[in-house]
Symmetry: C2
Subunit: 259 residues, 2 copies
DNA sequence: TATACAAAATGACGTAACGTCACTTTCAAG
DNA sequence: CTTGAAAGTGACGTTACGTCATTTTGTATA
């Protein structure tokens, strides 16, 4: 006969828990001293491990009690059911993770204004419910829709996505310097460079994507993080300034190759 | 001014919940009618969506209240922290999933005896805590330890693992027929075939693995699902019977190639 | 054997985020 | 003015124990 504290020590389950299990009839002490102290046997140790394991699988104490008392319990269905629940919960956590990453990155882009970032995310998720693939199909070809999947979505954890977010955030910070300031121009150069790396020779696609980007409404419909109008306009100005500088340099050297 | 039911309808949050939020001071109604009916404004709708979103991220109402009331809240740290929690929870669910699959498969192997399957899993998980890589290193070479990782672990969901489990279960079912019954022999043939497919030309490794397999203790130490002695012995008998039959057939045709 | 002290027992309250009664009061239309 | 719907408040139930407070029991020592 084993005292309650010994059971607790061996199974690493608290004394309180053991008393509770006794109370709800999940694991009753098979004997008591005259004074009423609980006494257990090896049998209870086993059953306790069993219970502990099942609890670890996510079952509630009530369910476990039912399982252990019913000799005809359908284990196959029950376990498969539990597995399905767990897989569903995993999906839920994945979605949460994705949203959190989006929010974290969003705050960087919004320059630390978490209010704005949350608002945009809420907009986005509401839009997402009623989004139909019609817009996507009307604008982009099949090949281009494949490319679309590779556009950073603000919720990635890869270094590539990270840099895009950082660049956007930097751009916002330096809006006050004007579109042709050296800092802004260096950011734009880097953006074009990355764009070229990822989507080389897909100029038509890039142009279309930019057209969509320039409309916050359309961006939302495509599930893209909505960039505010001001920043978009600034990017376009910076881009044009970049082109002018480029032409100037090339013109000075007597060459011209861009259309 | 919007009535409580209208707010509930628009946000899809129950009236009870709104009253509760009012009660705990998370979303207080800015006005009331003479009779005490709550009246809300658009402002509260926004705040409510905000709250709902944060709750979806896994924050408790108490935390949300703190976040929304503190204008100097450190969002970056808080969000990253939450993300870390979610990733941890994902790990936990993955482990649960793995154990559940192991148990479901184990019951098949044990011929429906879930008691035995659970017992073995508990043994295995306890062993796992104090397992050191010493045994693994002493028996297997580096190359062979790589192969070891490919041995089905009872918790996979791939068709390959599934078949191994099914074969083991079938073998157990047909133990009563004797090791040289046609059914058993067909199972053994299939097992050898699969073994050859996965580990062709790794005979030395296969032999070592079998040696380990034949000792339930060593199997446990390696984290392999412990197959009961009886079944192991039967497998060996069936294997030997297979070899005898093979030699008989080859011998009859005047050929001999096995060592 | 009396005493002291550890360990056990019991009972009660608290936790999170509401759902679900039960009962009363208010609102708005006819 | 009545009436039925909607709103209000209050209380209990839920899960799986942790954490007191208080009392009783077991056991070792003087």
């Amino acid at each position: 006969m084993i005292h309650i504290k010994e059971v607790a020590k061996q199974t690493d389950i608290s004394v309180r828990t053991l008393r509770y299990y006794d109370q709800i009839g999940l694991l009753t002490a098979p004997a008591k001293t005259e004074g009423g102290h609980r006494l257990y046997t090896e049998e209870e140790l086993k059953r306790l491990q069993y219970i502990h394991f099942l609890k670890g699988m996510g079952y509630s104490l009530k369910e476990i009690k039912k399982m252990l008392s019913d000799p005809n319990w359908n284990w196959r269905d029950s376990l498969n059911n539990q597995l399905a629940c767990i897989l569903e919960e995993q999906q839920r956590l994945k979605r949460m993770e994705s949203s959190l990453r989006e929010l974290i990155h969003g705050i960087v882009v919004e320059g630390g204004d978490e209010q704005a970032a949350v608002q945009k995310l809420i907009q986005l998720s509401q839009q997402y419910k009623k989004r139909s693939p019609s817009l996507e199909q009307s604008i982009f070809s099949k090949r281009e829709r494949e490319l679309l999947a590779r556009v950073p979505k603000m919720n990635g954890e890869d270094p590539d996505t990270m840099e895009w977010i950082a660049l956007l955030g930097q751009l916002k910070q330096h809006m006050k310097d004007g579109p042709d300031s050296p800092k802004v121009q260096s950011i734009v150069r880097r953006m074009l460079e990355k764009q070229a790396e990822e989507f080389e020779d897909e100029n038509e696609f890039i142009d279309k994507l930019w057209e969509v980007r320039k409309s916050p409404q359309q961006s939302e419909l495509l599930g893209l993080y909505p960039i505010e109008q001001e920043l978009l306009d600034f990017m376009e100005q910076a881009y044009e300034a970049h082109m002018v500088l480029l032409q100037g340099r090339l013109g000075g050297k007597g060459e011209y190759r861009e259309s």
